[in-house]
């Protein structure tokens, strides 16, 4: 959003110069343009897109994706990657549902789920930071570990009891009661996602830790020489990503009321795609939390449009997501190459 307003205010001066200066903003702007274009296309082609219920459903159905994409943003800005988020969500949600059904206090279980996610993050962080394991290998191992542990717990869908307190997080509050079902709805899950986004924005863009995250991505060696706490910060980004995977598991489970060991297959790709679409460079050093939010919404809207269209088989969505990710990564390389000239 800030990016868009800045464009307008400065367009009077030479737009070309500005673009040259803030070239890294280009993909984020592109994502915003694509999102708006998709909304317009959807409205024209299928209708009922620009209305309160569709938009609130978009937020409700993608709050978990927004949360993991924010975590992924931290990791990718340091030049790392976290492939374990989908599997961590599967493990924490299955464990959470089973504990709740075993009679544990619901809110304690929520805390435990977040903590378990954080624990996976700690292990990845230690492997990456202290043992120099490549990030994708360490988090890939965590992905298999979490997925394996989830299947050890259960291989059938675990259903929450109808009175489980965690389900309260999916209560739908009508903010504006529109005609028929066209209401502006918000759930505590969406509020959690918004809080996560705000806290992450503050942390990343306004604190010393955030600066260090960018510095590591720019050049780890320089960051180290500048005396920044590289070790601790590099660890923290994986912990943050793990914790947020736990939060996403809470939000997702509360919405569905079911957890299964195959939940979240391919979500790491969605999170990476959302982050990359939002303008975060896969090589690290550049990225915005809000960009990742836009990226998540682009992916979410894509699913809505595919369902509305009906002509595209649902199996093809991963191919489309992969294709979009590929296009944006190529766009980044192009921009980087241009910048170097």
């Amino acid at each position: 959003m800030t990016a868009a307003t800045m464009t307008e205010s400065r367009s009077s001066t030479s737009l070309k110069d500005w673009i040259k200066l803030r070239l890294e903003l280009l993909p984020t702007l592109a994502a915003l343009v694509i999102f708006i274009a998709m909304v317009i296309y959807g409205e024209v082609a299928y209708g009922r897109i620009v209305q309160m219920s569709t938009m609130s459903n978009l937020l409700i159905n993608n709050s978990h994706l927004i949360i993991i994409a924010v975590g992924m943003t931290f990791v990718i800005i340091t030049g790392g990657i976290d492939l374990s988020v989908g599997a961590v969500i599967a493990f924490t949600s299955v464990a959470g549902v089973m504990l709740t059904n075993a009679g544990w206090n619901g809110w304690l279980v929520v805390l435990l789920m977040v903590a378990m996610g954080g624990l996976f993050g700690v292990v990845s962080g230690v492997l990456v930071q202290y043992f120099n394991v490549q990030p994708f290998i360490a988090t890939l191992a965590m992905m298999f570990l979490a997925r394996g542990l989830a299947s050890m717990l259960s291989t059938v869908p675990e259903r929450l009891a109808a009175d489980a307190s965690i389900l309260a997080l999916a209560t739908q509050f009508k903010i504006i009661d529109g005609p028929k079902v066209n209401d502006l709805i918000i759930t505590p899950g969406v509020i959690i996602a918004l809080v996560v986004v705000l806290v992450a924005m503050f942390l990343l863009h306004r604190t010393r830790t955030g600066r260090t995250v960018y510095a590591i991505g720019g050049s780890e060696q320089s960051a180290q020489l500048m005396g920044l706490p590289v070790h601790a910060t590099k660890m923290w980004v994986y912990v943050i990503s793990g914790l947020l995977a736990g939060v996403a598991a809470v939000v997702y489970t509360s919405r569905l009321g079911i957890a299964q060991n195959i939940t979240g297959i391919g979500w790491e790709l969605d999170a990476i795609a959302a982050t990359v679409i939002g303008g975060t460079l896969l090589t690290g050093g550049v990225g915005f939390v809000l960009g990742s939010v836009v990226g998540s919404l682009v992916l979410g809207l894509m699913i809505v449009l595919i369902t509305r269209d009906g002509g595209i088989p649902p199996e093809a969505t991963t191919i489309i997501t992969g294709g979009i990710l590929l296009v944006f990564v190529l766009l980044q390389r192009l921009v980087l190459a241009r910048q170097r000239d």
Partner: protein, 355 residues
């Protein structure tokens, strides 16, 4: 293999130093565990009906064949300091292509060959796309192959229309279930391919050049190594071998299971490679080691089923093994071990213990 040792003692020392020696030890240990549960575990019988050896060992060899294929492909890719996360998905694509083709084709030898050729062609093309993304476009290997890993299963679903297609073709089925000289054809084929790839890379400069890219791309370029061409070749080979593995895996049941065929097998391949002594950092590779690793994984899978442990526990266990092997390979642990041995304390030692 090790002819520079002096006498039997030197030979033994040389063998123990090789990392895949421990893989062999692990296989023997697993077999011993099985032997204690069932003393006749290792017995091999002869089935007169189809002229084949029967027994648990033969089953293990059969199960090892697809893992051997993806492991040696992965081994070459890792040597270039890349990774191929798409092996499992290429398997399912190859399976989907061959089954979808055979479902409509006549039950003849020619039909089987056409299906095989088509499946291998498609897998090699997928590998080539990976190679183009890595070498020409310059993407990080794990991102391009991750996209393929997740999109690949989608492609397979689109090919079969979301169904688990089955087909009937005796020649195709023979590839996975037939016997030659009493041994499973599938294992003999896999072994032949391993030997072929081994000869190709070790009897020519190819292997050396692959290692050169993995060690130092800059130096390799200055030495005149064609990085782009080699990477294209290596990723295509990995795709092709994964296609072979996919054919092996689907031909035994003549059904492609869209969500299960090749699922999480990329981890098996990485594990086999790491067990075989190939460092994930790239720059060197050991095909014999990768083959031993593949045999170990097949033995492990069979052992878990045999002992009645829930097979859902194996992925978690394998992940733990990968983490441990990565730790052993890391400099910090090596330094720690070395400093223990020489009793010289290094500054990083305290930190490592704390970590």
């Amino acid at each position: 293999m090790s002819d520079n040792g002096t006498g039997p003692a030197g030979f033994l020392k040389e063998v123990v130093r090789r990392q895949y020696f421990w893989g062999v030890v692990a296989i023997v240990l697993l077999l011993l565990v099985n032997l204690t549960k069932d003393p006749s575990y290792l017995s091999i019988g002869w089935n007169d009906a189809n002229g084949a050896l029967v027994g648990n060992l033969v089953d293990i060899l059969r199960a090892a064949a697809p893992i051997m294929m993806i492991s040696i492909g992965m081994c070459l890719v890792i040597a270039t300091s890349g990774i191929d996360l798409s092996v499992g998905s290429v398997m399912v694509i190859a399976g989907a292509v061959s089954m979808q083709f055979l479902a409509a084709a006549p039950n003849t030898f020619a039909g089987a060959m056409a299906a095989l050729g088509l499946a291998l062609l498609v897998s090699a093309v997928v590998g080539l796309v990976n190679g183009i993304l890595v070498s020409v476009v310059g993407l990080q290997p794990f991102i391009s192959t991750l996209i393929m890993m997740l999109a690949g299963r989608g492609i397979a679903k689109v090919i079969t229309g979301g169904q688990n297609t089955s087909a009937v073709n005796d020649s195709f089925r023979w590839i996975a279930n037939g016997y030659l000289f009493g041994l499973p054809v599938v294992f003999l084929l896999a072994l032949a391919i391993v030997v072929l790839v081994g000869l190709l890379v070790r009897r020519s400069a190819l292997g050396l050049m692959i290692e050169a890219i993995g060690m130092d791309p800059q130096a390799a370029r200055l030495a005149g190594v064609n990085r782009r061409g080699l990477l294209l070749a290596v990723y295509s080979i990995s795709g092709l071998l994964s296609g072979v593995a996919g054919v092996f895996a689907t031909a035994s049941v003549m059904t492609v299971d869209i969500s299960r065929t090749g699922y999480q097998l990329e981890m098996d391949a990485i594990l086999a490679v790491v067990i075989g002594g190939t460092s994930l950092a790239g720059g060197k590779f050991n095909l014999t080691g990768a083959t031993v690793g593949a045999l170990l994984i097949a033995t492990l899978d069979k052992t878990v089923v045999f002992l009645g442990v829930s097979s859902s526990a194996t992925p978690a266990f394998k992940a733990v093994v990968i983490v441990v092997l990565c730790l052993i390979q890391s400099d910090r642990v090596r330094q720690l071990l070395r400093s223990r041995r020489t009793t010289g304390s290094r500054p990083s030692r305290k930190e490592a213990v704390a970590a």
